[in-house]
């Protein structure tokens, strides 16, 4: 019994690895069961990414992994070694908001704000792949992100406005 418990304790070790979050390499140590969401929020202090349903149904925890929107609640932290992770904290550059953030603020696309980080990251990936998406494409791209406040109309308009701003700037 004692030996079995000792073996168990030996196995229950943290993993230590290097993650690339918002362009920075960070060394982090955490138990292997932690999801990327838990590592971001609890071990790296990046609480912009939100805990929602925790089962992959709401999109509140969406981040970009290697440039693609994925759900941080269903990705193991230890599977992110060597992959690029982008969160809402990496959007603004210096004191300047990302065009998506500016458009969301200007057009009332955030009310309670809980879905906003996931919406922003999902929209960022869309605009990087398709600079001029149709309204239908925008709706499809954010169809995995639930919002209970806005009714989505302002969010779609904000993504369209940001796309226009980004095309004019380019």
């Amino acid at each position: 019994m004692g030996a079995a418990r000792g073996r168990e304790a030996l196995l229950r070790r943290n993993v230590q690895l290097r993650l690339h979050v918002n362009g920075e390499a960070v060394e982090v140590s955490f138990p292997p069961y932690k999801t990327l969401l838990e590592v971001l929020r609890e071990d790296l202090g990046l609480t912009g990414t939100k805990h929602g349903c925790e089962l992959g149904e709401c999109g509140a925890c969406a981040v970009l992994v290697d440039g693609e929107p994925q759900l941080a609640c269903l990705v193991l932290g230890l599977e992110c070694e060597g992959r690029s992770v982008e969160t809402v904290e990496g959007l603004a550059q210096g004191g300047t908001l990302h065009p998506l953030q500016a458009a969301f603020a200007d057009l009332g696309a955030a009310q309670c704000g809980y879905c906003t980080p996931g919406m922003l990251m999902t929209a960022k990936a869309l605009l990087e792949r398709e600079p001029a998406p149709s309204r239908e494409r925008i709706r499809e791209a954010i169809s995995g992100n639930l919002c209970r406040c806005t009714g989505y109309a302002q969010i779609v308009e904000a993504i369209e406005a940001a796309a226009r701003a980004m095309r004019e700037r380019a």
């Binding site: 069961y33 805990h51 089962l55 929107p69 269903l74 599977e79 995995g144």
Partner: protein, 343 residues
């Protein structure tokens, strides 16, 4: 907050290495591909493996190769499948309708084929299940859907499997002792618990889709067009003579039993016939008579039975070349997109 339970993790680089780990560790080891099915289940304590074998770094599982048949690596994400123009339309349509954009970026083709069966009494938190005394599928002794049933009736909820069965696909299973290739429909058993004929030490590595120039389509019934598991999936594929006569046809149903299955009788009925409205109605009735849904998913059971022949009819009219876009939008909030796969 739902934490995952403790586990060890191994990240093999080759299929042989992964198979050796499975053979050595036995049933306490489970495979982790995209994680979109297993990790929620682990959070709810449906599965508590001691060891996870992470497949992300295994070489060769994301290949697409085109020889006498189209070979698809089981590790391709569903997004990769729906964007690949060489893949037949029916499979791309099925992949495009699995879950949401984010989950399709994570979930894999192999993972969707091996998806755990689902039930309203099973896909609940540990505390919820404990409160009702658990069920046959996990920790309990009774099926709450059919209390006299000795068999678990949890429903097969994969979209890609019926699409691939209609296309006549085969799968390669690799174990420590060797490998085998079987027809995809033979991978499944009509048992909500023991639903796969995959041996515990085997990995599903490849899907082989014969290149037969068949027309194919997939129709999905669910509550929300943007999300949700199927409560009915209808896949149809056929090869036509230049005058429109069906030479061969295959119809497969999903979410209508504990396994996806081929309705051979409906396919055989269509051979040598033209797809007139009458022929379509009769084939649809034959196929729908095989759908035996249980009251363990979303939406009303009787309605789900009622619309089964409508959905088979939609699929066959689609194969005939009717413009089905309005029906697609109305029933599924989905339009097969251009360029291919941008659903």
């Amino acid at each position: 907050m739902m934490r995952l339970p403790w586990f060890e993790c191994r990240a093999p680089r080759t299929v042989a290495e992964a198979a050796a780990i499975l053979a050595a560790e036995g049933p306490e080891a489970m495979l982790l591909a995209g994680g979109t099915d297993l990790l929620p289940n682990m959070k709810r304590r449906h599965q508590t493996p001691r060891l996870l074998v992470c497949l992300r770094r295994v070489e060769g599982l994301r290949k697409v190769s085109n020889g006498a048949a189209l070979t698809l690596g089981a590790g391709l994400t569903l997004t990769e499948v729906l964007r690949e123009p060489r893949i037949p339309a029916g499979l791309r349509q099925a992949a495009a309708q699995v879950a949401t954009v984010h989950l399709r970026n994570m979930g894999t083709l192999g993972g969707n084929l091996c998806l755990d069966t689902r039930c309203t009494y099973y896909n609940q938190t540990y505390e919820w299940r404990r409160a009702i005394g658990f069920c046959l599928k996990k920790d309990g002794e009774i099926c709450w859907v059919a209390t006299a049933s000795k068999r678990c009736v949890a429903v097969s909820s994969t979209d890609t499997a019926p699409a691939l069965i209609a296309l006549g696909a085969r799968v390669r299973l690799v174990g420590a002792a060797g490998e085998r290739e079987i027809a995809l429909e033979d991978l499944y058993r009509n048992d909500g618990i023991d639903y796969l004929a995959r041996r515990p030490d085997e990995l599903l590595t490849e899907v082989i889709v014969p290149d037969r120039g068949w027309r194919s389509t997939y129709w999905k019934l669910r509550r929300r067009g943007a999300f949700d598991f199927p409560v009915l999936g209808v896949a149809a594929a056929a090869r036509f003579a230049p005058d429109g006569t069906v030479l061969e046809a295959r119809i497969a149903l999903g979410a209508a039993a504990s396994r996806p299955f081929l309705v051979e009788k409906a396919g055989a009925f269509l051979a040598e016939k033209k797809l007139t409205d009458e022929v379509i109605a009769e084939a649809a009735a034959i196929a729908a008579s095989r759908a035996k849904p249980m009251d363990n998913t979303d939406l009303d059971l009787y309605w789900r039975k009622d619309v089964a022949d409508d959905f088979v009819g939609y699929a066959l009219r689609d194969l005939r070349g009717d413009d089905m876009r309005a029906v697609r939008l109305r029933t599924a909030r989905y339009l097969p997109g251009e360029p291919p796969g941008l659903s």
